[in-house]
């Protein structure tokens, strides 16, 4: 079995597939896309042409980290693992987009799959549609010369471009946190009262803030103006109830022009269901 090519990070079949869809002899290459028809048409309206479905995957073994039973603490090694695995998948997807010579990737979806052959390993997947701009007068790539990435739908992408913004990159921050068990005394003293549980409040609050600030840091280093469509996802994966991953993910955007005026939208009431 051929191992992953260390320079590109892609399996050989991926390179071959992507090369097959390249332009040849003045004819545009075949594009593949998981965009719906609506999204495809709106991406075209926005002045982009889909180039191909791009994909990145990483199977990662997530080890165990010792934790204090009662202690609220971030599990740094796990945070690092969850982040690195996603980053690997994203980077491979970006490489695929780069091979296609595209300007960016829209409709990125990140997912985590667990298979029954490995309890503590998971597959991290990034999938999206690589697009190239029809006009070459705007630079769509990031300042590092990489294709932009975005988890926005085709509709949102069109609307964003209409409003004079460009997506810059999919940014994320994660934090795997151990929420400490409470002592018997604490449980007893509150069991009959309506009371805030400061121990838990503080744990969940801190974990979310950590994830969000890491995401913001990523956006700042990209030179973004802001982040749209942030989602905060919480999952325990296979860790049981007291270890939670908080994932913040969104699309960092930059302005294309100083004003963001759009055509006045019509107000409608649809009688549709």
């Amino acid at each position: 079995m051929t191992a992953i090519d260390s320079t590109q990070g892609l399996p050989p079949d991926a390179l071959r597939r992507l090369q097959e869809s390249e332009d040849s002899a003045g004819r545009r290459g075949l594009f593949t896309s998981d965009l719906s028809v609506n999204e495809f048409l709106l991406v075209k309206e926005a002045g982009f042409h889909p180039r191909g479905l791009v994909f990145g995957s990483s199977i990662y073994h997530i080890g165990f980290q010792r934790r204090g039973l009662r202690k609220n603490q971030e599990l740094g090694a796990l945070t690092q693992a969850m982040y690195t695995a996603r980053e690997l998948a994203m980077a491979r997807m970006e490489t695929e987009a780069d091979v296609l010579g595209s300007d960016g990737v829209v409709g990125v979806r990140l997912s985590v799959n667990f298979y029954d052959w490995g309890k503590h390993s998971a597959e991290f997947i990034a999938i999206g549609t690589a697009v190239s701009a029809d006009e070459t007068d705007t630079e769509w790539k990031t300042s590092a010369g990489k294709p932009f990435t975005s988890d926005l739908s085709g509709q949102d992408f069109w609307t964003l471009v209409q409003a004079g913004y460009a997506p810059l990159g999919l940014v994320m921050g994660t934090c795997v946190y151990h929420v400490g068990y409470r002592g018997v005394g604490a449980v007893m003293s509150t069991s009959m009262r309506n009371a805030e549980l400061p121990h838990f409040t503080q744990a969940l609050y801190e974990a979310r803030e950590l994830a969000m600030s890491r995401m913001q840091e990523e956006a700042r280093s990209l030179g973004a103006e802001g982040i749209v469509g942030v989602q905060l996802v919480e999952k325990s994966h296979f860790w049981g109830s007291h270890v939670i991953e908080f994932l913040a993910i969104g699309t960092a955007v930059r302005p294309l022009r100083p004003d963001h005026v759009i055509a006045q939208p019509q107000m409608i009431v649809t009688l549709d269901t």
């Binding site: 069109w158 609307t159 939208p265 019509q266 409608i268 649809t270 009688l271 549709d272 269901t273």
Partner: protein, 332 residues
């Protein structure tokens, strides 16, 4: 392949089921009250549906129900569909029925193994079951109409339907079919001999009328085929013959045929049924069910339900739909 039998009309129905005027007393009094002076209408239309229906010049007349609890008799002994074949015996002593159901589709798949005369596989159309299912749906639709008629309505829109097998103590399977919709009325227009019925929502009804179509009736098409596997079915444990099949691969033609024919029959009957009501059928629900009754046998069952629509006006240059992007949050 034989031609599909037409769905039973109300005159040739079995037993003492729905002839006109067999609604329960509670239904009669509810509907008469609602239709009488000072009556109020009830409706499960949403506000959007209500305004769509009203825009077309109709008003709600009341909610109507059509239902039936129906038993499928034991495979037709003593009926005209009784088997004309006989019971045979295969290798290993299993009993099997030889094909010979009167009138329906049937096909035999003889054993391909060179020297063994194994039990043949065969497909046959279960006319008895098909007829039962068709009748049950027709009864429910007829009762919807009857209730609408009592309300002085011209039709029923937004019919939702459900069918379920009832866990009743009975030697034969019993199903319940339930339909609920809203009867609508056109003020000042004489009653129709048969109110229309439709499973389309209020908005879809309005769009139909706008584009020159009117619903005629809910129509149903049923197909049911039993497929008894011969020596090609099985996993090598159930009968001596199927030890050969461990290693067989390729298309299982007998089962493919069963599904293909079953769907074809359901579509054909749906279209035959609809021909009395309109030129098109829209919104056909194509749910198919597969039951494995035993290891080697399968019952393929298809009930297709749709609304037959009729053109009343030809629009030469239809307005093209506008393309809009909503600035609303629609999840991807």
């Amino acid at each position: 392949m034989s031609g599909p039998p037409p769905p039973p009309s109300s005159s040739e129905r079995s037993g003492e089921t729905a002839s006109a005027g067999d609604l329960p007393e509670a239904a009669r009094s509810r509907l008469t009250e609602a239709a009488g002076p000072g009556g109020t209408w009830t409706s499960d239309l949403s506000v959007s549906e209500l305004s769509a229906v009203e825009r077309c010049g109709f008003t709600p007349a009341g909610m109507v129900v059509g239902m039936t609890v129906y038993q499928f008799g034991l495979q037709g002994y003593g009926s005209q569909y009784q088997m004309s074949g006989g019971i045979g015996s295969g290798m290993g002593g299993q009993l099997y029925m030889t094909p010979g159901w009167a009138g329906g589709y049937q096909q035999t798949y003889v054993c391909q193994h060179a020297t063994y005369g194994h039990m043949p596989g065969y497909n046959f159309e279960d006319l008895w079951y098909e007829r039962g299912l068709t009748e049950a749906y027709t009864i429910a639709i007829d009762r919807l109409r009857e209730e609408a008629d009592l309300l002085g309505a011209h039709g029923v829109v937004g019919v939702r339907y459900q069918s379920q097998r009832l866990p009743l103590a009975s030697s034969a399977p019993v199903i319940e079919i339930r339909m609920v919709g809203t009867a609508i009325r056109r003020e000042g227009s004489p009653l129709l001999s048969e109110p229309f019925t439709s499973h389309l929502s209020g908005q879809q009804f309005a769009k139909l009328i706008d584009t020159g179509w009117v619903p005629g009736a809910m129509v149903v098409g049923v197909g049911a085929i039993r497929s008894y596997g011969g020596c090609v079915v099985g996993d090598g444990t159930s009968s001596g013959a199927s030890a050969f099949n461990q290693y067989a691969s390729g298309e299982f033609r007998q089962r493919s045929d069963a599904i293909q024919h079953c769907r074809r029959f359901a579509v054909d009957r749906l279209e035959t049924h609809a021909t009395g009501y309109g030129e098109r059928v829209v919104g056909v629900d194509v749910a198919a069910q597969f039951h494995s009754t035993m290891e080697d046998t399968m019952l393929v069952e298809n009930v297709m339900l749709g609304t037959a629509v009729r053109r009343f006006r030809h629009i030469e240059e239809p307005q093209p739909a506008r393309v809009t992007v909503g600035l609303a949050d629609v999840s991807r």
